[in-house]
């Protein structure tokens, strides 16, 4: 649940195995509390605002009520069905976007002529709202899974592309020189120099893309869908099943958090070598 990687493992320094472990445990507990404090505050507000009558319970039901609905939906298996539907779409769309955007971003960042050629069309599409294009996607890809996956891919594509290009641009030129002096092939320079350098930037792109995929999924599942969390939210909203709508939103947010955590962990793995920039 972290926006950027934080280095945990600073525990265990003092002598005396037990005391040290105890202290470390306490520190870890305190750290975890501190790290969840803001989210807990949000949840507390969510519970209290409607309970205290500061907002209308009908439109903003307290968290506990939403959780109740969530549990009920999980029991009946309805929730799992929607989650499965959405996950297939977003994972496929995200995966396709990664598979295309990362290599393309590396190539565009590297080959000036390719960049010059592709930029105008890419920028044109990038600045077209995925939502506005929904009818066009349906026109070309039909109302089935293809158009939904297509629009998720479209939405994930550009954050990954731009971040990858920005990552390539920030590579230390001296490292590239050194690789070129070893007569490394272009693909080898990519994988051995540019990719590791660009990791933080690429991962920022991934995390933004994951967010984008959530955003458009709601829109994509507005049309031609019969299951999925976006469908659930739409359906609940149009039928005034307000707690159910919030249950859908909460589920998406929680899944988003989990995915983000996965990405942050993966990034941390890949950039252990980095000198921490921040001060304590």
């Amino acid at each position: 649940m972290s926006i950027i990687a934080t280095d945990e493992g600073r525990a265990g320094f003092a002598a005396g195995a037990f005391a040290s472990r105890l202290a470390a445990g306490l520190r870890l507990a305190r750290g975890t509390l501190w790290k969840s404090a803001s989210l807990l505050a949000v949840f507390a507000l969510w519970e209290l605002l409607p309970r205290l009558g500061l907002v209308d319970r009908v439109w903003f039901p307290p968290l506990s009520q939403v959780l109740g609905v969530l549990v009920q939906m999980a029991r009946s298996g309805e929730l799992q069905n929607h989650i499965a539907g959405s996950l297939v779409r977003s994972v496929t769309g995200f995966g396709l976007a990664v598979a295309v955007a990362v290599p393309l971003g590396l190539a565009i960042g590297w080959y000036a002529r390719l960049r010059d050629f592709l930029t105008s069309a890419l920028e044109f599409f990038r600045n077209t709202s995925a939502l506005a294009l929904l009818p066009v996607f349906i026109l070309f890809l039909g109302i089935g899974e293809a158009s939904k996956i297509g629009i998720v891919t479209f939405a994930c594509f550009f954050p990954i592309l731009l971040s990858t290009i920005s990552g390539v641009k920030s590579v230390d030129p001296l490292l590239i020189k050194s690789a070129r002096s070893l007569a490394l092939s272009a693909p080898a320079i990519f994988t051995k120099i540019i990719l590791p350098s660009a990791v933080p930037s690429v991962f920022t792109g991934f995390r933004l893309a994951a967010q984008s995929s959530i955003l458009v999924l709601i829109a994509a599942e507005m049309v031609g869908a019969t299951r999925g969390l976006g469908y659930l939210i739409n359906y609940a909203q149009f039928n005034f099943l307000i707690p159910k709508m919030y249950a859908g939103i909460l589920t998406i947010a929680l899944i988003g958090l989990a995915v983000n955590q996965l990405l942050v962990t993966a990034e941390r793995r890949l950039s252990r070598w980095r000198v921490p920039t921040s001060n304590a």
Binding site: L174, L175, K177, S178, A179, R180, S181, L182, A183, L184, A188, K192, I193, P196, S197, S271, W273, R274, V275
Partner: protein, 298 residues
């Protein structure tokens, strides 16, 4: 890429390296694309197996010259031949040690050395590791295999960079002040190691240094460059008995003579480069402690 030098200037048999830089200039970004001539009219032939050292005032174009030799830059006008073949890009036959280390920050010391072996290819993972370990040991970094570059001191980084280019045994070694950040003793040890390596393998070495001692100690020939734009002012043949590495050739009477000759060649250059420098910016001759108490903003 044509050259203005007549081809008759190239002696037979073809040298290992034949460099002709008619002119090499940089385009400055800020000054409205003004051109800056860094090197002008340099012709160097290096026979196979020679150890050539280059000295010259700071900013005279030594690094630029080395990058051209490495194929990392093409002379604005000129040509580079290796073994008689025109060369336009970098190649594995030439290994380069950069003035600024150029270690991969995400790789440990050992993995940084393996990097060049990976580029060279032809070795198993295991062999690479063993060679890299040996190379690290050679530069006195046994025990630091798993350190990341930012966990190493300046001199250690430089030693890793040296090990990295030695380990894959290129035909030609291009070294840009490789021993600059080393203490005198480590430096001497590595100088000896380098000479031993060179004598054993007869690698062709082009070696940039700021130390005249080092230039004379290592080089069969010393190229002395002029300040901007860089030219070769003189080529000094150093004829010292290097066969016995254990003999202290620094004590040889000719050593001091070469040293002096090169010193003289350089002195004029540096003076020319700094003709007008005078320390005029210390506004206030009072000692800083007093001043800092008086000044309001400190």
């Amino acid at each position: 890429m044509s050259t203005v030098f007549p081809s008759s200037a190239v002696p037979a048999p073809a040298p290992k390296i034949a460099l002709r830089v008619d002119r090499h200039s940089f385009r400055l970004r800020d000054a409205g694309g003004e051109e800056f001539v860094a090197i002008s009219g340099v012709a160097i032939d290096v026979p196979a197996g020679e150890f050539l050292t280059i000295v010259g005032p700071s900013g005279c174009g030594k690094t630029t010259l080395l990058e051209i030799l490495a194929g990392l830059a093409s002379p604005t006008s000129g040509s580079l031949r290796i073994d008689g073949q025109e060369v336009t890009g970098p190649g594995l036959s030439r290994g380069i040690v950069f003035q600024q280390y150029a270690l991969l920050p995400w790789r440990t010391a050992l993995a940084n050395i393996e990097f060049s072996l990976e580029a060279a290819g032809g070795l198993s993972r295991h062999e690479r590791r063993d060679k890299a370990r040996a190379a690290l040991e050679l530069v006195g970094l046994k025990g630091f295999e798993d350190r990341f570059p930012h966990e190493l001191s300046g001199g250690m980084k430089q030693r890793v960079a040296i090990a990295r280019s030695l380990v894959y045994e290129p035909d030609i070694l291009l070294m840009d002040e490789p021993f600059g950040a080393l203490d005198a003793q480590t430096r001497e040890v590595l100088q000896q190691e380098l000479l031993a390596l060179w004598q054993r393998t007869r690698t062709t070495v082009v070696f940039i240094t700021h130390s005249i001692d080092e230039a004379v100690y290592l080089g069969q020939r010393v190229a002395v460059m002029t300040s901007r734009p860089g030219r070769i002012k003189a080529m000094v043949d150093v004829d010292l008995p290097r066969a016995d590495l254990d003999a202290d050739i620094r004590a040889h009477p000719d050593f001091a003579r070469y040293r002096h000759e090169i010193w003289d060649l350089l002195r004029g250059e540096v003076a020319r480069a700094r003709a007008s420098a005078t320390p005029t910016f210390w506004s206030d001759p009072t000692p800083p402690r007093e001043r800092s108490q008086a000044a309001p903003s400190n």
